[in-house]
C-alpha cells in the first residue's frame, strides 16, 4: 500500500495538450501540462473532463502511463469504436487544446520501489498503461526488483510501446517481458493465438511460492479470468491487485 501521505483535497485542474504521439493505429499517447502537478505514484490514474462550448461535459478515467520521477503526465488512450471521449482524444485533440484533470487518484493499485518482493504484471490490451508506469518508474529509480510482464494483445500491431519494451528488455536489468496474442501471432510464433492460459503463466510468470506482488489490468473479462488462473496456481488472493477497465469505456 502506498505511504499514507496526507493529500490535499482534489479538484478539477486545467490541462493543456503539449504533444500527441500515435502508439498504434488505435492508441495514442497524450502528454499533458498541468500547472502545479504534484507528481504521482506508478499505477495511479486521473479523471479527464471535456466540456463543449454549450456547457455539456463528460468525463472518463485514464491510467497515468508516464514514470513517476519525470515531471510529465502522459495518458495512453485506446480508441473505443463508437466511444464519445476516446475518438476525440485519439483523432481530434492537438497541442494547445485544453481539458481538465482531477488527480492523481488511487493508492491501492500502485507500486513503489520501496517494495522488494518480485513483481508480476499482467496486461490485457490497453491495460498496459498503468503497468508501463511501473516499468518506467522501476527504471527511473534504478531498482533491481525482479519484474515479469506478461502482455496479451489481439495482434502484434496492437502492441503499445512495442519498441520501448524491446529496448527495456535489453537495457533494464531484471525485467522480463512475454507477449501473448489472442487473434493473430507473428509468423513462426511458438504458440497459436489464444487467450492467456495456465501453462503460459506458469512458464513466464513467477512461481506462487516466490510470493510476488501481482498487478492485473485490462478489460473486466480478462482480469477476472486471469485472476482466477493465478489463484488456481496458488497465488494468494490478497497479493493480486486488479484494475478493470469497464466493458464500455468510451
Amino acid at each position: 500500500m502506498a505511504r499514507a501521505a496526507v493529500h490535499r483535497r482534489l479538484t478539477w485542474q486545467p490541462a493543456t495538450v503539449a504533444q500527441v504521439n500515435d502508439e498504434t493505429a488505435t492508441a495514442r499517447t497524450l502528454l499533458l501540462e498541468v500547472p502545479g502537478w504534484p507528481g504521482h505514484v506508478a499505477g495511479q490514474h486521473v479523471d479527464v473532463r471535456l466540456t463543449a462550448e454549450d456547457g455539456y461535459s463528460t468525463q472518463r478515467s485514464y491510467s497515468i502511463a508516464s514514470a513517476p520521477e519525470v515531471d510529465r503526465l502522459e495518458l495512453t488512450v485506446q480508441r473505443v469504436p463508437d466511444g464519445e471521449v476516446s475518438p476525440y482524444l485519439c483523432d481530434i485533440a492537438r497541442p494547445g487544446d485544453q481539458v481538465e484533470v482531477r488527480g492523481p487518484v488511487g493508492g491501492y493499485f500502485t507500486w513503489q520501489p520501496e517494495s522488494v518482493e518480485p513483481v508480476l504484471l499482467v496486461a490485457g490490451g490497453s491495460g498496459i498503461a498503468p503497468l508501463m508506469s511501473m516499468v518506467r518508474g522501476r527504471a527511473g529509480a534504478n531498482s533491481r526488483v525482479p519484474f515479469r510482464l506478461v502482455y496479451s494483445s489481439r495482434t502484434p500491431e496492437d502492441v503499445i510501446y512495442a519498441r520501448e519494451l524491446s529496448r527495456r528488455v535489453r537495457d533494464d536489468r531484471g525485467l522480463d517481458v512475454a507477449f501473448a496474442y489472442t487473434r493473430s501471432a507473428p509468423p513462426g510464433w511458438p504458440r497459436p493465438p489464444g487467450r492467456l492460459d495456465a501453462p503460459l503463466l506458469t512458464e513466464v510468470g513467477w512461481p506462487a511460492d516466490f510470493a510476488p506482488a501481482v498487478f492485473v489490468c485490462g478489460p473486466t473479462g480478462f482480469v477476472e479470468s486471469t485472476a482466477n488462473l493465478l489463484v488456481s496456481q496458488g497465488h494468494e488472493a490478497q497479493r493480486i491487485k486488479t484494475e478493470r477497465f469497464g466493458p464500455t469505456g468510451g
Partner: protein, 115 residues
C-alpha cells in the same frame, strides 16, 4: 482480491446476475471521493452492513453508469454507499457500511504522556 461470488440477497426468484455485467471496480470511485476526503480512499477498508464482509474500497463493485455512483459489496451486492455529483455539490450517502477505516499518519494515543 476477494473471490468472486455470484450469490446475492435479491428476491428468491431471480437468478444469479449476468456475469461481469455493468460494473467496474472501486478504483473508479476514487476520483470523486478524493474531492471529499483528503487521503487516498482506494485502500480504505469498509465493513458491509449487510453481510459483514471487510475489504478495500478498490474491490467494490461500482456501478457508475447510473444517475449517481453506486458501490456494492462484492459478497452480497448490498449498496455500501452512493455518490451524486451536482454542479456545485456532492451528495454522499453511506448507509451500507458499519465502518470505514483509513490509514493516517501515526500519532501518540490521546492522553499518553510518556512519563
Amino acid at each position: 482480491m476477494t473471490e468472486r461470488q455470484t450469490g446475492s440477497a435479491m428476491s428468491d426468484i431471480s437468478e444469479d446476475p449476468i456475469d461481469g455485467e455493468g460494473w467496474v471496480d472501486g478504483n473508479e470511485a476514487a476520483g470523486i471521493l478524493q474531492e471529499i476526503f483528503t487521503m487516498d480512499i482506494t485502500s480504505a477498508r469498509g465493513r458491509c452492513a449487510g453481510c459483514g464482509l471487510v475489504g478495500p474500497m478498490a474491490e467494490l463493485r461500482v456501478y457508475d453508469r447510473a444517475p449517481g455512483l453506486v458501490a456494492r459489496c462484492p459478497g452480497c451486492e448490498n449498496v455500501l454507499f452512493t455518490v451524486i455529483r451536482a454542479p456545485d455539490r456532492v451528495f454522499l450517502s453511506v448507509g451500507g457500511m458499519t465502518y470505514l477505516e483509513m490509514a493516517l499518519p501515526e500519532v501518540a494515543a490521546p492522553g499518553f504522556t510518556g512519563a
